[in-house]
Symmetry: C2
Subunit: 176 residues, 2 copies
DNA sequence: TTGATTATATATCAGACTGATATATTGAAG
DNA sequence: CTTCAATATATCAGTCTGATATATAATCAA
């Protein structure tokens, strides 16, 4: 899940798992606790796959640390993950935001593609939310239940709309 | 994670794990695959806690199924979870939406409390996003990197704003 | 100077969720 | 009468979450 984030972060700067966790935690905010039990096994996996190297760095007067550095294969992997379509999974929003964060690493053409892909996802979601309301009216549920369900959907709808406006204004800027 | 959803769903109607999964899948949409490997252990847990009973139901000409029915203790648990403050975890948004869906089961006073709690969460997030931008300007990162990071934050900001408007208009309706 | 606290750094664990697959029964379509 | 879809449950590997444990070094107060 955090593969692309970690590789993107290492593109310009090597760092320890401790610092990687700290930066990631700052980005995701209070809602998710970024855990060492995730970072270190992830580093291990990326290392075994040949995407990063792990080197013991001993600074005088400091405890030693394992510094992760991206390899050439890792840079290719980063590009692959940037090109790859974002899979429909619970981390989709996070994955898009990581891609956006790394826009300065890729060509303008690819940027527009990613933005359009995100736009399509939002449009599909809008369609699916409208459909949900239609479906609910057909299935027999009680009136207050139905009202609440529609109301909850309307929250998602306004958020989708806000995101769409953001994408459209971003696409305009990128066209300039 | 899905405890409140399941109990809320059983408040008016008993059902099998198969149907529960189907309804939940429809609600969460394409982004998350609701798994049997989650539903059945969850039913087992709720059963062992005394919140639901599981009864074999054999309809003629159909294969038998285990139907979950909420108990009195389960109804108390449902109320407890509705009153309980929503914890800061990755499922926060989902938990609020489940609470909203079950508004017809609770008193108007509690509805307003939940909406205000959600509003506070959104306001705190807005503050934290503004702070992130300030912090970024202080730490030395490259210009394009900074620009992208700010741009990503602006997406979250417009979505927070849309949600806040939704909450405020909802609070007005509930005050009528 | 010593003692306590905080920051850096890594490891490990139980519990839970995801996505997938396996298996069995019944109904419907052709 | 056979294939396909729908209903129904079980199980599994891999991964993430939240928490705790451990160790070293720096800082700051008494």
């Amino acid at each position: 899940m955090y593969d692309l984030f970690v590789l993107g972060q290492l593109m310009d700067e090597s760092m320890s798992g401790y610092l990687m966790r700290q930066i990631l935690q700052q980005i995701v905010g209070r809602q998710r606790k970024i855990s060492f039990g995730m970072i270190y096994p992830l580093f291990k996996r990326l290392n075994e796959a040949g995407y990063i190297t792990l080197n013991d760095q001993v600074d005088v007067g400091k405890r030693s640390k394992k510094v992760a550095t991206i390899t050439d294969r890792g840079r290719i992997r980063f590009k692959e993950l940037m090109i790859q379509k974002v899979p429909l999974n619970p981390n989709l929003e996070f994955t898009y935001s990581v891609k956006f964060r790394n826009f300065h690493q890729i060509e303008p053409e690819l940027r527009r593609e990613i933005l359009n892909e995100y736009k399509n996802y939002l449009l599909e979601n809008q369609k699916s939310l409208s459909q949900q309301i239609v479906d609910m009216k057909e299935t027999p549920i009680s009136a207050p239940d139905l009202k609440n369900a529609q109301w909850v959907i309307s929250l998602k709808q306004v958020q989708m709309k806000a995101a769409l406006q953001w994408v459209d204004s971003s696409l305009k800027k990128f066209a300039e």
